[in-house]
Symmetry: C2
Subunit: 347 residues, 2 copies
């Protein structure tokens, strides 16, 4: 891999600007928590695991800056405000809230041990860096496990970008594809372009080309045509939040692909780290779905494609009921949706 | 309706330029058959019934110009060349070939009666103008019939543009919606944007707004989300070619909507004139599917949205098997797919 999605550096949190790919490969440096929050909101960085890493780094960076500005004295009071800032960026991906909880634990343990604030901030930085490293390890593990369900000479369809760009690296759905490719199993990846923000066209096609994995781009509405024609052996997508019963929120359009795949008996897998599972929600109906700006639908890269003032719906995610999901590929194994709660909660 | 899709005028065939809607309302005049053929190929005019009208007018215009240029003597030899030119524009919509056959009949009858070539050309013009008028009448009739299947306060989803712009006027799928709207039955139309060429965003949204029919634009991949949520009471789409068994070729993406609609028991109707039915084909597998240029997928209104050189598939149509179709709304009645051949061929 010749790019880094997100990295901690002395001057701040460095991210590849995903709004400008594939035309430009530009890295931006967020120098405080506000800039990290804006990068998440405007989708400079996106993808549930990557948002989690960014939020953790945002907390560490925010507290580092607070330490510089206000000193050790008032620091503890600022912690929750920094977390709230980052929590308010995007509602659906649970990895963001999971990462903030991890950072809260680090902070309160450090405070509980009576460490000086400067030491506690160092622990926050170390924790954020570790979340990033663990994410890559997790993806390599789930990719290796997931490769087992990919048949030889597979034609695999994916939606949106659950790739290295959506994570600290390697990817979830694309991690499975990468691992299967390393085993010589991938004949072709069909990448849905994924309107409105075209993460499939802009990001999935770009990162698979980089890795010389054969990829063909299609519009979202072509998936049924190719699945019906027998041109797809397997579907694998990522997830933004998985409820306890296996219902899965993922990028808008995932539900349609899942319904079509089942109609033609094509296996449909979700690939995600366990941090994407929200056991506090009984089912997908409880997952908050972000509604984004109408401009994303009526204009594409600044080109207006619809009449002015037309009404628009723009839900960023949909929920695929567990019944449509063949299996959920995690770093701890591949589970049927109904096995998640009993098997993972008893670990 | 405050616009005309296509009209015969002294100087040539005048069309609203559908590639420039909704940003500009520009009319172009095709002054010979070559210009009509180019307008069809480049989708200045599109939609199966509109293509049929354009092809008929293209033949009339072509022969009128030939008469001016070569005189009466060599005229008969030119007829088939003009037909071939127009037949080679687009392969899927059968209305084009149906219209050319009608023009051939007119020509051979005129020749059979020994009419002077100038008189025969006048008959071609009259026939083309009549095909246009009949198309509007046909749509009003099928619209009125189709409105009966639309429930009160209906939320109707449509894909692509099977509207006044796709026909000489009034529309097929949008004809049903217009007639239902005149009866006060339409609560909301959900318009799929219809990538790659965005006929839903650019054309359907535009013409429904013109008629003050409430329309909300969504990306294609949102259809499943809204159908699953119970926000759609009925789907109605047009058709480019219907095989004898009811299998229906229509704009790419139609198949996916049909599969999703059936999953949630939402009625899925095809609205088309009988001229769209090709009884010479036993089933949809025999319908030729046009593959269009990759540029339509990788760039949107000139804005590149994918990596250079990425492989692309771009089938312009898909085939929805009859099993997914609740009914086919024609000017001669509403038929179950399996009733088409027995009931219409015995008329």
């Amino acid at each position: 891999m010749s790019f880094e999605t997100i990295a901690w550096q002395d001057e701040g949190v460095v991210m590849i600007d995903q709004t400008r790919l594939p035309l430009e490969e530009v890295y931006v440096t967020c120098r405080n928590a506000e800039e990290v929050a804006r990068a998440i909101r405007t989708m400079v960085i996106r993808g549930a695991p990557a948002i989690g890493v960014a939020a953790a780094m945002g907390v560490a960076l925010g507290m580092k800056r607070q330490l510089d500005e206000v000193g050790e004295a008032g620091l503890s009071d600022r912690f929750e405000a920094v977390c709230r800032l980052l929590a308010a960026t995007r509602p659906t991906a649970v990895n963001l809230f999971w990462a903030l909880d991890r950072m809260r634990q680090v902070w309160s343990q450090a405070n509980g041990r009576g460490l000086p604030a400067a030491e506690a901030v160092k622990l926050l930085v170390a924790a954020a860096v570790k979340i990033r490293e663990q994410d890559i390890e997790t993806n390599r593990r789930l990719g290796a496990l997931g490769a087992a369900v990919v048949p030889e000479k597979a034609r695999v369809l994916t939606h949106c970008n659950a790739g290295a760009l959506a994570c600290a690296g390697y990817g979830t759905a694309l991690g499975v594809i990468r691992a299967a490719h390393e085993q010589g199993k991938i004949r072709e990846v069909l990448a849905d372009e994924t309107r409105p923000l075209l993460q499939g066209a802009r990001l999935t096609a770009w990162e698979l080309q980089r890795d010389q994995i054969p990829v063909t781009l299609i519009t979202d509405n072509m998936a049924a045509h190719f699945i019906a024609a027998g041109a797809v052996d397997l579907v694998v997508v990522g997830a933004d939040r998985i409820a306890a019963n296996g219902d899965t929120a993922n990028k808008i359009g995932t539900l349609g692909v899942a319904i079509i795949a089942r109609e033609f008996q094509v296996p449909f897998y979700v690939a995600a780290p366990c941090s994407t599972i929200d056991f506090s929600l009984a089912n997908g109906g409880e997952i908050p779905i972000e509604e984004r700006d109408r401009e994303e639908v009526v204009a594409i890269r600044g080109q207006v494609v619809a009449p002015a003032e037309v009404a628009v719906y723009n839900p960023a995610f949909d929920v695929t009921p567990a019944a449509f999901i063949t299996g959920i590929i995690t770093e701890k194994g591949i589970f049927k949706p109904e096995e998640l709660l009993p098997r993972l909660c008893r670990n």
